[in-house]
C-alpha cells in the first residue's frame, strides 16, 4: 500500500490486514488490524512470534507454529491458507477467522512475504454462546418440570420442543413425535381421542384450550391428564407457535372423587356433620357444618360458619351448663363427646339432639370436635310414649292385682265365715244328739240309739270335711317366700310327726336323703305336702300284714325329687289325675276314712313352689308319690 489512496482504502475496511515479510516481521497493518490487536506503529518490524501472543485453535489447543495460516502461506506452494486463530492480545482474547496469501513483494523493499486478512468474530461468538446457554437452561428447566411442556410450529405441524415429562407421564419414547406429531394421540384413551383432538383444533380459533383426558400407559396404568394449549405470537401479532402444558392429575382426580364421595356421604348421612371449635379461651364457633344442620339448629350452614356462631348459644338455656360441662370433660379426657340436649326451634317448638364427636387438640390450645349431630326428637317422643304406656300398664296391673287381692280376701272371709257358720249348727246337732244319747237313752229303743249314733258319726265326718276345707284354703294364703331349703331336716321333722305310728311297730319307716342337696321352695309348704303324703301312706297301709313306707329325696339333673313309697293297695293309673282333685276319693269310707282333700292340699302346696307332683302305682302294687322341685347347689355358707 504504497499510495495514499491505497492506505485510505485499507484503513476503511472492517477486515483487519497485516503484511509480513518472509521472516514473519510485521511490515504494515491497517487501522482495523491495529485496533483489534492493539498494535502500535512502533511494533512494525517486530516478528509476530516475538510479541508473546499465545495462539490457539478454536478448541483452546495451542497452535504450533507450522499450523498457523501465516507460516503455511509463507512455506506453502503459493496457495491461500485459512484457519481460526484465537489470539491472546494485550486487549484480551480475540477470535479470528484468518486468511493468508503469499505475495512476491510485500512492498517497502522487503521482497517476498504474505498478506494476512482476518475478521474478528469474538462478539458474534459470545452472542451465540449466550444463546446456547439460555437454550440449555431452558431445556434443563423444562426437564425439571413435572408437567409436560411442548412447542409446535403450527404451519409445518412439527414438534419443536418437548420436555422429558412426556416420557415419564406417557411412559412412551418422545422420538416418534418429532417424526410425526399425530403420534401424540397414540397414548390417549380411544374414548377420549376425538374430544381431545377437537379441543386442540379449536384452540387455533379460540386461542386457548383446556381439557381432561385419560392416557393408557404401555405398562397398563391409567393416567388422568389435564392439557392446556395456547398460541404464541411474534412482534407483529402473528401466531408463530402453539405451546402448552399437560399435567398428571390422576391423584388430584382421586382426591376429588374421594372428596365428592365424602360430600355425598355427608349429604345423605342422618343428621348433620360438623366441626366445632373452642379456642383457648373457651369461645366456641362452628368451622364447618353440612347443609342438614339447618334442620337441626334452625340456622343454615353458611351463616353458622361465617358468623362464627357458638353451639352453646343455640342450646336450650336449661341445658347450656350441662352441655358446656360435657364438652369440658370430653376435652380434658380426650374422650368422645356424647350428649343429648334440647334446641329451641321456633317452627317445631324444640328439637332433641344427640351429639357424637371426637375432640382434637390444636397446637394453639384450641379444641375442635369433629362429629355429627342427629335429631332424636321422634325417638324421644316414642320413648316417652313407651314410658307413659309402661306407667299406665303398671297402674293397670297394680289395679288388677289389688282387685284380685280384694277378691281373694273376699273368698277367704267367705271360707272363714262358712266354716264358722257351718260348725255352729254342727255343734248343736252333735251336742243335742249326745245329750239325747246320754240323758234320754231309756226313752229310745235299740234302733233309736243306732240312729243317734249315725247322726253323731255323720256330724263328726262333716266336722272333718270343714276342717280339711279350711286347711286347703289356708294353703293359698299369701305369697310363698321361696328360698333354698335343706331337705334333710324337713324329712326328719315330717317323720317325727309320724313317729307315734312307727314307734308302735305298726309301720316300718325308712328315710334316705342325698347329702349336699338344696331345693328352692318354702319349708312350711314342703312340710305340709310331705306330711299329707306320709299320712296318706300310713292310712292306706292300714290292715297290711307288714306296713312299709319309704321317704326320700335325691338329685335328678337340676331338680330334686322327693318320694313317698308305700306297700298299700295302690290304685289304677286311670284315676291318676282324679286323686289330686279336691273331694275325689277312690275308696269307700268304710275301707279307708278320709275327706278327699289331702292330695289336693299336696298339689296346691307344690304348685305354689313351682314344683310338680305325680304318682306311680298299679292295683295291689303299692304307690309312689313324687314331688319335684328346683335344686340348688349346696354351699357351705348357706
Amino acid at each position: 500500500m504504497e499510495s495514499e489512496a491505497n492506505r485510505r482504502i485499507f484503513d476503511s475496511l472492517e477486515t483487519g490486514m497485516l503484511w509480513f515479510d518472509a521472516e514473519r516481521r510485521i511490515v504494515d497493518a491497517n487501522r482495523a488490524a491495529r485496533a483489534v490487536l492493539g498494535i502500535a506503529e512502533s511494533a512494525f518490524g517486530a516478528r509476530i512470534d516475538d510479541l508473546g501472543w499465545g495462539q490457539s485453535d478454536e478448541h483452546g489447543e495451542a497452535l504450533a507454529a507450522e499450523a498457523r495460516p501465516l507460516w503455511r502461506a509463507l512455506h506453502g506452494d503459493g496457495e491461500t491458507t485459512s484457519g481460526i486463530v484465537v489470539v491472546q492480545t494485550p486487549r484480551g482474547q480475540r477470535w479470528l477467522r484468518v486468511r493468508a496469501v503469499p505475495v512476491a513483494d510485500v512492498g517497502q523493499g522487503r521482497g517476498r512475504g504474505a498478506v494476512v486478512s482476518f475478521t474478528d468474530y469474538t462478539h458474534e461468538r459470545d452472542a451465540s454462546r449466550s444463546l446456547q446457554e439460555s437454550e440449555q437452561l431452558f431445556r434443563m428447566f423444562g426437564d425439571h418440570s413435572l408437567d409436560l411442556m411442548w412447542i409446535v410450529d403450527p404451519r409445518t405441524r412439527k414438534l419443536l420442543y418437548m420436555n422429558s415429562a412426556y416420557e415419564r407421564i406417557w411412559g412412551r419414547p418422545a422420538a416418534p413425535l418429532y417424526e410425526d406429531l399425530a403420534h401424540w394421540l397414540d397414548g390417549v384413551d380411544p374414548a377420549d381421542r376425538q374430544r381431545v383432538a377437537e379441543a386442540a383444533l379449536h384452540a387455533n380459533a379460540a386461542g386457548m384450550y383446556q381439557t381432561e383426558y385419560r392416557v393408557n400407559r404401555p405398562d397398563g396404568r391409567l393416567v388422568w391428564i389435564r392439557g392446556r394449549g395456547f398460541p404464541l405470537f411474534d412482534a407483529n401479532g402473528r401466531m408463530r407457535y402453539m405451546a402448552g402444558f399437560a399435567e398428571d392429575i390422576t391423584l388430584e382426580r382421586a382426591h376429588r372423587a374421594a372428596q365428592e364421595r365424602l360430600e355425598r356421604l355427608v349429604a345423605t348421612a342422618p343428621g348433620a356433620v360438623h366441626s366445632y371449635c373452642q379456642d383457648a379461651q373457651g369461645r366456641g364457633r362452628f368451622t364447618f357444618a353440612s347443609p342438614a344442620i339447618r334442620d337441626l339448629l334452625g340456622v343454615d350452614a353458611a351463616t353458622l360458619v361465617e358468623r362464627g356462631i357458638d353451639l352453646l348459644a343455640l342450646v336450650h338455656p336449661d341445658e347450656r351448663e350441662a352441655v358446656a360441662e360435657s364438652l369440658r370433660a370430653s376435652a380434658d379426657l380426650g374422650s368422645a363427646w356424647l350428649a343429648t340436649f334440647r334446641v329451641p326451634h321456633p317452627p317445631a317448638r324444640e328439637r332433641w339432639l344427640e351429639a357424637h364427636s371426637m375432640p382434637v387438640h390444636e397446637p394453639d390450645g384450641a379444641v375442635v370436635w369433629h362429629g355429627f349431630l342427629i335429631d332424636i326428637t321422634e325417638r324421644r317422643h316414642a320413648e316417652q310414649e313407651i314410658r307413659s304406656l309402661n306407667i299406665e300398664l303398671e297402674q293397670r296391673v297394680a289395679a288388677r292385682t289389688a282387685e284380685l287381692e280384694a277378691k281373694h280376701r273376699e273368698m277367704e272371709s267367705f271360707t272363714y265365715s262358712v266354716s264358722h257358720d257351718l260348725k255352729a249348727p254342727l255343734r248343736g246337732i252333735d251336742g243335742y244328739s249326745r245329750l239325747l244319747e246320754s240323758d234320754h237313752a231309756h226313752g229310745l229303743d235299740e234302733e233309736g240309739r243306732f240312729f243317734v249314733s249315725m247322726i253323731r258319726k255323720a256330724t263328726a265326718h262333716m266336722g272333718d270335711l270343714i276342717d280339711d276345707l279350711l286347711a286347703y284354703s289356708r294353703v293359698e294364703r299369701g305369697r310363698p317366700a321361696l328360698g333354698p331349703v335343706d331337705p334333710a331336716p324337713v324329712l326328719a321333722a315330717v317323720l317325727d310327726g309320724a313317729a307315734e305310728d312307727a314307734a308302735g311297730g305298726a309301720v316300718a319307716l325308712t328315710r334316705s336323703a342325698e347329702p349336699g342337696l338344696n331345693v328352692v321352695g318354702e319349708r312350711e309348704g314342703l312340710v305340709l305336702a310331705l306330711r299329707n303324703l306320709l299320712d296318706n301312706a300310713i292310712k292306706f297301709t292300714a290292715g297290711r300284714p307288714r306296713r312299709e313306707i319309704e321317704v326320700g329325696v335325691r338329685r335328678a339333673g337340676d331338680r330334686a325329687l322327693f318320694w313317698v313309697r308305700d306297700n298299700g293297695p295302690g290304685f289304677n293309673m286311670r284315676y291318676h289325675d282324679r286323686i289330686f282333685e279336691i273331694f275325689q276319693r277312690l275308696h269307700r269310707a268304710e275301707e279307708f276314712p278320709g275327706t278327699g282333700v289331702g292330695l289336693a292340699i299336696v298339689r296346691k302346696a307344690v304348685e305354689r313352689m313351682h314344683g310338680r307332683v305325680w304318682a306311680e302305682s298299679a292295683l295291689g302294687q303299692g304307690a309312689t308319690f313324687y314331688i319335684e322341685l328346683p335344686a340348688v347347689e349346696h354351699s357351705p355358707n348357706s
Binding site: 260348725k423 255352729a424 255343734r427 252333735d430 256330724t459
Partner: protein, 140 residues
C-alpha cells in the same frame, strides 16, 4: 279355795249358750254363768262392775259377734287400767292364724277352739273351770 264369782259368757248363738250351760252343768260347775249376746252388751257390763256388780272370775269370749266384734271387746278390756286383770279366754270356732295372733297381741289369756264334738266340749268346760276357777291365783 274355789272362786265362786260368776263366769261371763259372751256368745250370740243361743244353741251354743245352752250347750255351754249344759256342759258346765254336766261337770257340776257351780259358778253363775252370766250371758251377754253381743259385743256392745259385753262392753256395757263394765258400767255394772263400776256400780258394784261382782267382776267375773273369767270371761269366755266368742270372736264373731254382732255389732262390736270379740277382738274389739278384748282390746277395750285389756286397755282398761283395772279390768285388764280379768282373765279372758277366747272360745271360738276360728282356728285362723290371724285371729290367734291378733288375740294374743291384744293380751288374751287363753285361746280355745270350740270342738264340734259335745264330749270334747264338756272336757273344755271342765278344764276352764279347773284352771281359771280353781288353780289360777288372780291378781286382785
Amino acid at each position: 279355795m274355789e272362786d265362786r264369782r260368776p263366769i261371763l259368757l259372751v256368745e250370740d248363738n243361743p244353741m251354743d249358750v245352752d250347750l255351754t250351760q249344759r256342759a258346765f252343768a254336766k261337770r257340776h260347775i257351780v259358778n253363775v254363768l252370766e250371758v251377754v249376746r253381743d259385743g256392745e252388751e259385753a262392753l256395757d257390763w263394765m258400767a255394772r262392775w263400776e256400780s258394784g256388780h261382782p267382776q267375773p272370775v273369767v270371761i269366755l269370749l266368742d270372736l264373731k259377734l254382732p255389732r262390736v266384734s270379740g277382738l274389739e271387746v278384748l282390746r277395750q278390756l285389756k286397755a282398761h287400767p283395772e279390768y285388764c286383770r280379768i282373765p279372758v279366754v277366747v272360745l271360738t270356732t276360728s282356728r285362723e292364724d290371724t285371729d290367734v295372733a291378733a288375740a294374743y297381741a291384744l293380751g288374751v289369756n287363753s285361746y280355745i277352739v270350740k270342738p264340734v264334738e259335745f264330749e270334747k266340749f264338756i272336757e273344755v268346760a271342765a278344764q276352764i273351770d279347773l284352771y281359771w276357777c280353781v288353780l289360777n291365783q288372780q291378781a286382785i
